[in-house]
C-alpha cells in the first residue's frame, strides 16, 4: 500500500466518520462539513481540464473548482484536505436512458419491472419501482456511475423516467428529477420478417403510417386535453402528458435510421416539444438536420456492430466524433437493452472507444457527464465540476476512459462519500482468503 493510498484511506475514514454508517454507501440525511481535494487533474466534464486543481466541497456542493497554481487556497477553511496528486477527478458519470434498478436478473421474470403491458402508457412512472437496493448498483458506483435516468421501456409510449442518484436509502431519497421525461419508440420503417432465421429480411413496415397517424392523433388529443383546467372525465394518460406541452417535461424519442430520425424531428417540432433522440445510430447521416433544429442525441453503445455488412467496420466507434465534428449535441449511454443494466458499469469505456476514432478525450468525458446533464436539463445541478453544483464526483488513479487505467478510488454523491464495495468484491476477498492469496 503506497503512501498516497494510505492518505486517501485516512481521509475516507474521516469522511465516513462525518457521515455515519458506510453500509453499501447509502446516504444519511444531508451531508454537513467540508473538504478540499488538491492536486488532481480535473476533467471538468465540459471539455476542459485543470492539470493541478483545487476542489472544495462544503455541505454537499462544490464551493471551489480552480487551478491550484493560480489561486490562493487556505486549507484551514476545510475540515479535511485530500491530496490527489497524480490522480484524476471527474464529475460523476450519468447513466441516461437506463433500466437500472428496474431489472435485477435478466432471465428471471419476477425481477423484471422495466416493461409494462400496453402500447400507450404515458401514465407509467419508473421512479416508484426504482430499487435502491439492487445488487447491480454498487457495481456501477465503483465504476463511476453515480446518477441514472431510469426509464420504462415497453410499448410505443413507455411512460415517464426519473433521474436518481445511486446513493439513496429509498427511491424518494434518491430522486433528483421526478418524472423528467416521457419516452417513446418511433415506429420502425422497416419491420423484420422472419427474425428467427439467419439473415432475416427487413421489409417495409406496412403499419408505419397507421401507427404514426395514431401517435399524432394521440398527442393532438393530449394537447387539447391539457387546455382544459378541469377536464371531465379525467384521463390519466392525458393528465400525465400535460407537462410535455408546457415545456416542463421532455420527450425522449427512440429511433435509428435516418428517415426515422427525420420523422421524429418533424414530430418533435410539430408539437413544439422539448425532445431528445435516443439511440439514433444513423444520426451521422443527418447531422445537418439535427444541427438545424438543435436536436440533442443520446447515442447508445459504441460497443456494437455496424448496422449493415457494407457499413464501415468502425462505424459505431466513430459516430460520436462525426456528431461532434458536425456540431450536434450528443451524449452516450449503454442504453436499456437486455444486458445494458449491468453492462452500464462499462459506460466510460464506451466513451473511450470513440477516442481512437477521432473524439477528443475531454469531449468523450463530457459525453457521459456534462453533455448528458445538459440534455437532461440538470446542468445546474450536476454533470460538471463547477462551483455551486452538487458535489457528485469521483477520483481515479488513472484515465477512466481506458479500462487499462481506470481505477476509481473514491466517489462522492452530493458531497457524501460513497462506499465503493460491492457483493463481487466481497466474494473476491472471501475466496482470496480461502486460498490464502494476497
Amino acid at each position: 500500500m503506497n503512501k498516497l493510498t494510505t492518505t486517501l484511506l485516512i481521509a475516507l475514514l474521516l469522511l465516513i466518520g462525518l457521515t455515519g454508517s458506510p453500509v453499501q454507501g447509502q446516504q444519511s440525511p444531508s451531508p454537513k462539513g467540508s473538504f478540499l481535494l488538491l492536486g488532481a487533474v480535473a476533467h471538468l466534464g465540459n471539455g476542459q481540464v485543470i492539470e493541478n486543481s483545487a476542489i472544495g466541497v462544503r455541505d454537499g456542493r462544490f464551493t471551489l473548482v480552480a487551478d491550484a497554481t493560480v489561486i490562493r487556497i487556505n486549507p484551514a477553511e476545510y475540515d479535511t484536505v485530500i491530496t490527489g496528486t497524480g490522480q484524476h477527478v471527474y464529475p460523476g458519470f450519468i447513466a441516461a436512458v437506463s433500466g437500472l434498478g428496474l431489472i435485477e436478473i435478466g432471465a428471471v421474470r419476477a425481477t423484471n419491472d422495466a416493461s409494462e403491458v400496453g402500447d400507450y402508457n404515458p401514465h407509467i412512472r419508473s421512479s416508484i419501482a426504482f430499487n435502491t437496493d439492487s445488487k447491480v448498483l454498487p457495481t456501477l458506483r465503483n465504476n463511476g456511475i453515480l446518477i441514472a435516468q431510469v426509464i420504462p421501456s415497453g410499448g410505443t409510449i413507455s411512460g415517464f423516467s426519473s433521474v436518481v442518484h445511486l446513493n439513496g436509502w429509498n427511491w424518494e431519497d434518491a430522486l433528483m428529477a421526478e418524472d423528467d421525461a416521457l419516452h417513446l419508440h418511433w415506429q420502425q420503417l422497416l419491420s423484420r420478417e422472419g427474425w428467427w432465421v439467419e439473415n432475416a429480411r427487413l421489409e417495409s413496415n406496412e403499419k408505419y403510417h397507421t401507427n404514426t397517424d395514431k401517435l399524432y392523433a394521440f398527442f393532438e388529443e393530449a394537447r387539447a386535453y391539457a387546455q382544459n383546467p378541469s377536464p371531465a372525465p379525467v384521463n390519466l394518460r392525458f393528465e400525465a402528458m400535460k407537462g410535455i406541452f408546457d415545456g416542463s417535461k421532455k420527450v425522449f424519442i427512440r429511433c435509428y435510421e435516418a428517415k426515422e430520425i427525420a420523422e421524429a424531428v418533424r414530430f418533435g417540432e410539430a408539437f413544439g416539444l422539448d425532445y431528445v433522440l435516443v439511440d439514433a445510430g444513423q444520426a451521422w447521416q443527418v447531422t445537418d438536420l439535427l444541427k438545424q433544429y438543435d436536436v440533442p442525441v443520446i447515442l447508445e453503445q459504441t460497443h456494437r456492430l455496424p448496422p449493415y455488412g457494407h457499413s464501415d467496420v468502425d462505424q459505431p466507434f466513430k459516430t460520436p466524433a462525426l456528431l461532434k465534428a458536425a456540431g450536434v449535441r450528443f451524449g452516450l449511454s449503454v442504453g436499456s437493452g437486455w444486458d445494458a443494466f449491468w453492462q452500464t458499469r462499462n459506460l466510460s469505456y464506451h466513451a473511450g472507444q470513440a477516442v481512437p476514432f477521432g473524439l477528443d478525450p475531454e469531449v468523450a468525458v463530457a459525453s457521459i457527464t456534462g453533455n448528458l446533464a445538459e440534455i437532461l436539463g440538470l446542468e445546474a445541478r450536476c454533470g460538471t465540476l463547477t462551483s455551486g453544483l452538487e458535489a457528485t464526483f469521483l477520483l481515479s488513479e488513472g484515465d477512466v476512459l481506458d479500462m487499462r487505467t481506470s481505477r476509481i478510488t473514491h466517489a462522492w454523491i452530493q458531497g457524501q462519500a460513497v462506499d465503493l464495495d460491492d457483493h463481487q468484491r466481497v466474494l473476491y476477498r472471501r475466496y482470496m482468503s480461502k486460498y490464502g492469496l494476497e
Binding site: K135, L202, H303, V313, M403
Partner: protein, 1007 residues
Amino acid sequence: MINVLYFRQAFSRAVPTLFSLLALLLTANGLAIAQTTFPTNGVRDERSGLHAFENASIVVSPEQTLEGATLLIRDGKIVGVGKGLAIPADAVRHDCSGQYLYPSFLDLFSQYGVANKQPYERASRQEALDSERPGAWAWNEALLPEFDAATAFEGDDKAAEAMRAAGFGAVLTHRRDGIARGTGAVVLLRGKGQEHGSLVRERAAAFYSFRKGSSTQEYPGSLMGAIALLRQTYLDGKWYARQTLPRKEVNLSLEAWNNTQTLPAFFEAGDHYSALRAAIMGKEFGVAYTFLGDGTEYRSLNDLKAVGSAFVLPLNFPAPYKVSDPLDANMVSYPELLHWEWAPANAALLSQAGIPIALTTNGLENPGMFREALKKAMDHGLSEKAALAALTTEPARLAGVSAELGTLEAGKRANFLRCSGPLWDKETHVLENWVGGERYGMEWAEASDYRGKYALELNGKRYALEIGGNLHGPDFTVKRDSALLPSEGKQDRDRLTLSFEDQEAHYRLSGWWMEGTLSGLGQDQRGNWFNWTATRTAAFEPKPDTAAKKDEKRLMDPAALPRPFQAYGGTSAPAQESVLFRNATVWTNGKDGVLEGADVLIKNGKISKVGRSINAGDARVVDATGKHLTAGIIDEHSHIAISRGVNEGTQASTAEVRIGDVIDPSDVDIYRQLSGGVVASQLLHGSANPIGGQSALIKLRWGASAEQMKIEGADGFIKFALGENVKQSNWGDNSTVRFPQTRMGVEQVFVDHFTRAREYGRRKAAGDPTLRPDLDLEALLEILEKKRFITCHSYVQSEINMLMKVAEQFGFRINTFTHILEGYKVADKMKAHGVGASTFSDWWAYKYEVIDAIPHNAALLHKMGVVTAINSDDAEMGRRLNQEAAKAVKYGGVSEEEALKMVTLNPAILLHLDDQMGSIETGKEASIVLWTDHPLSVYARAEQTWIDGRLYFSLDKDTEARKTLAAERNRIMLRMMDKAAEGGPTREPEAEHEHNYHCDDLEDEGR
C-alpha cells in the same frame, strides 16, 4: 437469339386454337395409346400413330444436325431418322421444309402432378421429441425414403400445358418434402387421365435435402443436424442390411433407403456452400449427388468443380432494385446487389468451367418466363450447344433415361419440338410440341403465307392493302394514294378480318384465302353488303429488323468474383510475405517477456527472428516505432461464421453434429474480427443441451473456403453444457418434458452416455458385427479415448465439480470450462483436475445462475494456476478482446503481460495450438498483430493483422476496400437505374438483418 416478346405474343394468339386442338387430341388421338389392360366401352379405336416429318433440319442431339432429313415416329416412339428414309404408305406426312426438329426439354426439378404432404397435427405444444407417424417407419419424420412419387402421380393439365409451352416434354417429378424425400419419377407432360402413358420411369432417382419440411419433430433443428441425420442414416442403412434374422427392428424406411441407393441421387442442398457440404458428405458414403441448385453456384465455382458434381440450375434472376431513394438503397446488402449482376452468368460460368449442368424452370414464377430467362443466360455466355445439352441430353443422362429421352434417335420416345427455324433465332416459333408421339400444337404449323401487297377496289376507289410482318401474326396496313388510313386487321389462320375508314366511308371486311386469292364479304357504313376481292400485286419482302436492339452480351469474368461474395471480399488471397517489423514493443509471451525497441522478422509464414538490429535482407520493412506487436488474438468461444443454427439442441446429446460442417466463410464478422486483431477462433456449438456438438477451429482466412479455414491437424473438440440452458429453465412453459430438467438429471445424462460409449467402444474393439455405428457414441468414445476434448459451458460451482467427478470416474479430464463464472469458487479443484478456464471478463446478472459471477474471476483462477482465457461468445465483443483482457488487470491485478496472454497464448494452450500460435517466438506461426497503441488499451487499434505471414487486414487495406466497395455499389446502382428506366420489372429495396449467434440461440433452423 430467341425473340422473347415474339414468343409471348405468339403464345397468347395461339391459345384459342390450342384449346380447340387439345380437345381434338384428347378425344381422338389420345385413344390411340389407351391403356391396353382396360376394357373398352364401345368400338375400339387403335391407331398406329405413324407420322413422317419430311424435309426437316433435324437436330438429333447437340452434336448432330441432319439437313433435309426425315423423322419417322410410330406408336409414340421414334422409329427412324435420317435422309432418304422409305416412308410407309400409311404414314401421315408432314412437310417440314425450312423447319427444325429438336428433342423437347426435360426438367429435373419439379413436383409436377405430386401433391404436398400434409403435416401431422400434434395435440401438445410441448417439444416434439418423437415421430408422430404410426407404423414401422424411420424414427424421424423427415426421413421418407419410402415415398414413391410415381404412386402419387396424377397428371395436371394446366401445369403440363404451361411446361409444354416452354418447350418441355417431360419432367423428373418428386415431392419436395423431407430430408430423405423418397424417389421421383420421369413423366411425360400429357396431363390428367394420361398417367398410364405418361410414366417413363418410376423410381428414377432418389431425392434428398437439408430441410425437414413438414416434419413436426424437433430434430434436426439446424443445418448441422440435418447433415448428421443423413450421415447416421447412411450408416443405419448399411447396418440394417447386415442384420441377421430374426431382426430386432424392422424398419421399412431403412429398407426403402437401401433399395434406392443404386438410383441417381438428387440433392436440394440450398446455396453453393451447402452443395459443397453435401458433396463432401456424399463422398464419405460413395454417393455423387446431382444438385438442385439455387443460382448462387458461381460463387464457389472452383470448389464445386473440384467435387465433380452436376447441377440443375434455376434461371430465376433477380430484378434490379429500385434505387431511386438513396437511403433505402443503402440498406440493400452488397451480395444482393452483386447477385443481380452475376446470377444470369451462373449457367455460363459453370458450363465453361466444365461442370455438367441441366436447366430447370424451378424458381420461376411460371414456366412462361423460361425462354426469356434462357435468353438472358445465353446473353451472359451460355453457348447454344451447352444450352441445348442442358435441356436435353444432360438431364436425360443425369436422370438415367438417356435410352428414352434427350435425342432424336430411333428407339427413343417421340418427344420433340417442331420449330419454324433454328430454335435460337429471333424469328423462330415453336410450332408444335410432340410428347410421346402426340401433337400439342402451339402455332399453325403448316401455315399459308398470304403476305404481300394487294390492290382492292371498293366503291370505285382503289386501296393498297399490305399484309406484312410475321407469318404467324401479320400486320395489316391500308393506304389510299399513299395516305395511311386508320385500319385494324386480324388473322385467324386462313381467314381474316379487316376494317378501315376513308373519310366518311367505313368498311368492314371478312375474307378468306383460298388457292392464292383473297376475297370475301363486306359491309359499309350504311349497312350495304358487298363482295370483294383483293389482287396480289407484289410478293412479301421481309424488312430488315431495324428496331431490334443490339444483343446485350455481358460476359462475367470469374477472376473478378469477390472472395468471399460479401462486402470487403477481395479478388485475390493475400500473399505470404517476408516482413521485418522494426523497432516495436514486442510482447513475446515467452521467456523474453516484453521487448522494447525490438525487431521481428517473419518469413515463409513463420516467425524467423526476434531480436534487435535484425538484417532485413529481402524482407519488406515495416516501421513499428511507437507501436506494439503481439501474437494474434484467439477467441476460445465464438459463434461467428456459422450457417443455419448454432444449436442442434433438440436432444440431450447431439455429439454427432459438427460445426465444421456448417462454417460460413462469407460472414462479414470474420472481417470485422480481423479488424480487432483476431486470428483464430473456436466455433462452438451452443449450450442448449448437456452434450452439444463438435467444434471447428478456424483461422480467419478471409476469402478462403470453409475447408481452407479449418486449422490443419487441430485436435477435435466438443461442446458440453450445464445449468439453466440445458435444463431449459428459461425457455417457457412448452419446454418441460425433455430430460433433464434439473442439475440432478444433467449428471445422469453424462453418466448414461459415457457408460454407453464405453460399452460401445468395447463392442467395437471386439469387432462385434451386430454393432450399429452410432455417430453420437463415436464422438463420446473419442472423448474416452482422449482423442476429443471437452469445452464445457458452466456457471455454478456444484455442477462444475460434478462434471469433473464424472470425467474422473470415466478416466479422462475436462479440457476447458467456458464461461465458468463461479470457477473462482472451485479453482483449487479445477487446478487439481487439470482443467483450463475460458471466461467472460465481467458479465453477470443476465440470469439467476450468474448471480455470483465476479469480474475478478479470471484473476483468481489465474492466481490459482489454472490456465485462463477470456473469450467473447459474441460477435461484437470478439473484435475487442484485448480490452476485455485489460479488465483482468483492473479487477484482480493480473500483470499486463499475463492479461494479454489470456486472449493469445492461453486460449492457444486450451485449444492445443500453443506449439504453433500464441506467442512471438522463433519458429511459431506469423499470426500476429501490430497495434497502434498499448494492446490492452481502449485506444489501441489493430493496424495490421497477419495470419501465417499473410496480411489479412490492415488499416490501409481497409481504407482501400471501403473505397472499392462504395464505388462498386454505386456502379451497380447506376446500372440498376438504367434498367429501371428501360421499363423492366424492379423490386423494392430490402435489407438483410444479420444474425449474430450466441450460445443460447435456439431458433429452429432445420426447416
